[in-house]
Symmetry: C2
Subunit: 183 residues, 2 copies
């Protein structure tokens, strides 16, 4: 989007090489956002989440919801939902901006916090529900029997082992991220 949508007054810079139109993203910003869009795909998250987080990450100042809508050219609904999701993960923080009624958001930029938020919000719930079902399975395998009972039990035990080691890994990850400088 070129000109500011809310007024018809022309930006004096609109023809200069580097627009200072505040709604226009700089090339570098676009590139960084694209990087995040790709990044979140690995985590199984939708594009809009990557766009929103990326924009906040590469914006010097906190942004309000409608500013995000304008800059990214996506719907208000998407941004609202995306921000809620990111806030739940602790990837985005609500900050107070004096003299403005709107909520403003910034990106949490500490890797450790991001990772922990993702682990808590996305990974752990899955691990826990799997743990429950696995316990049921263990019982089931003990009672019920078939020619393959032994095999089944061995396999179920193995999944339990995987889970246990997965849990240990998450702790190790956490410890590692806590170590080096707080970036």
């Amino acid at each position: 989007m070129r000109s500011s949508p809310q007024t018809s007054i022309q930006d004096p810079d609109q023809f200069s090489e580097k627009s200072t139109d505040p709604d226009q993203l700089e090339i570098i910003q676009r590139e960084v956002i694209a990087l995040f869009v790709n990044g979140v795909r690995v985590l199984g998250l939708p594009k809009s989440i990557g766009e929103i987080y990326g924009l906040l990450f590469i914006s010097p100042d906190p942004l309000a919801l409608d500013v995000i809508v304008i800059k990214l050219e996506i719907s208000k609904g998407s941004v609202s939902q995306g921000l809620r999701f990111l806030r739940n993960l602790g990837a985005v923080k609500l900050v107070y901006v004096s003299g403005d009624r709107r909520d403003h958001f910034t990106a949490e930029a500490e890797l450790k916090k991001l990772a922990n938020g993702f682990i808590r919000g996305e990974l752990n719930p899955n691990l826990e529900s799997a743990t429950l079902r696995l316990d049921e399975l263990k019982a089931m395998a003990k009672n019920h029997n078939s020619p393959n009972s032994d095999f089944f039990q061995e396999r179920i035990k193995r999944i339990g082992n995987w889970r246990r080691r997965g849990g240990m890994l998450l702790k190790i990850v956490n410890k590692f991220l806590g170590k080096t400088t707080r970036l």
Copy 2:
């Protein structure tokens, strides 16, 4: 494979409490497969992948493609593609079964190998392409300038840091999985 599925000869056990119909999955098997279907979702993989891997994991003997089709009641195309994917990750191995012209498959059940396959096949490619783009970005940020140049450079440097630590983490994960018993 026990009896030929295409004949109309009836399985004598078909009315007994526990069917031994070789095409029928046992309840425990279904449950384990469901567990895997859920599991692979976390990794961003489709249901059919979880079904196929789960079936092989919880099957005592190697299975041929058409057996998988029958047991899971999914299309041949899906199974063919799914098996290729799983073989590429090293999660499924081709095994020779004497006297049968068909290919047979088993699940690789060592966590370390599974994790390494996933890292190599799914994570590393993404990390590498991100690395390339990031280097371009660094250059771009150095040349191009704007009031926010310093901020941009700081942020891009930070992403670089994340990536570096991500790479370290993968190595740590690998080391950890190598440690304890080989399960």
